[in-house]
């Protein structure tokens, strides 16, 4: 199983990184990492676009959703069933589904391996048609050593994580509605949501300080592209709604 993932994910990713490294003038590994992140993000874009789009159309369904929530306040099963039927009738589903999330996990582990093992290996296992640069220069932008951890990069990533989550929560159903419902469950969710907003960035900083900077640069770039992607899809779909 591990060998299988090594062949279909780890090796192509490492080779793509080396290709970027070879092509970029000045051979800056930092820029190569950013390019690799962009390629991965573009490959996964169709999956995320679909879910962001249906979030938008779901906002219009909010009144009906609230009605159903009130109607079946004490019957979780019935409520879920009615909600799913409502989505089906309107041909929307805000949930992105489970499989893409499961697919992303091996990709994440492979990227982790690429930066943890691939960069430090003495001989790069590149395909025969790619020229082997021998050793990779791990200095990015002339100042950042990608092989060792960097607290500053970890803190920047933590801040960006907060920005990303904040952008997300403003798109969630408004808090007033949650409070009006008065249900215990939802209130607890709201508090947990508030805590999560600070927990995730804090965790990012703490874990980030122990990881090699190359991996953190990937994390940072990936967050940045996620924020841009959200802004882009929302801008495009809200334009469509205002000028039909």
């Amino acid at each position: 199983m591990i060998g299988f993932f090594k062949i279909i994910l780890y090796e192509p990713l490492l080779n793509l990184l080396v290709v970027f490294y070879n092509l970029i003038p000045g051979h800056d590994l930092g820029i190569a990492i950013i390019f690799l992140t962009l390629v991965l993000k573009l490959l996964l874009f169709p999956l995320s676009r679909q879910s962001i789009k249906s979030q938008k159309s779901l906002k219009e369904l909010q009144p009906k959703i609230q009605e159903l929530k009130k109607k079946y306040a004490n019957q979780k099963d019935k409520q879920a069933q009615a909600m799913m039927n409502l989505y089906k009738e309107n041909k929307v589903n805000p949930f992105s589904s489970c499989l893409p999330l499961l697919i992303q996990l091996p990709i994440l582990i492979s990227v982790f391996q690429v930066f943890r093992v691939g960069l430090t290996a003495a001989s790069l296992p590149v395909y025969s048609f790619i020229s082997n640069p021998g050793t990779l220069n791990v200095m990015a932008f002339g100042v950042l050593n990608l092989a060792s951890p960097s607290p500053i990069l970890a803190i920047i990533t933590g801040i960006l994580q907060y920005v990303q989550m904040k952008a997300f929560t403003t798109q969630q159903p408004s808090k007033k509605l949650v409070k009006k419902d008065g249900a215990k469950d939802e209130n607890m969710m709201a508090t947990m949501s508030k805590q999560m907003k600070f927990m995730m960035p804090a965790l990012t900083v703490f874990i980030g300080m122990t990881l090699p900077s190359g991996l953190m640069l990937y994390w940072l770039a990936s967050l940045l592209f996620t924020i841009l992607e959200q802004k882009l899809v929302f801008a495009v779909s809200s334009k469509k709604i205002t000028n039909p």
């Binding site: 069933q81 799913m84 589903n93 805000p94 949930f95 992105s96 489970c98 997300f168 995730m200």
Partner: protein, 84 residues
Amino acid sequence: MKQIFIWPRLLVLQLIRFYQKTFSPDHGPFSLIHPWKGTCKFRPTCSEYAYDAINKYGLLKGGIKALKRIFRCNPWSKGGWDPA
């Protein structure tokens, strides 16, 4: 004797509950980083479905049903109400 065969099933059921409380993007704390608080398109969610299916049909048959469900939970499916 038959009692012994139920142990693996109980263990897996407990593991599913543990997963739901920790890493699950639908039930655990990570559900909150997703807009609409979850990712699964179906209700019951995939992990709930797996729990019910294994409880009802046993580890092998229920497990296969749960796996099929996870593959059904892809971007091209409609989702919806789908109990075990």
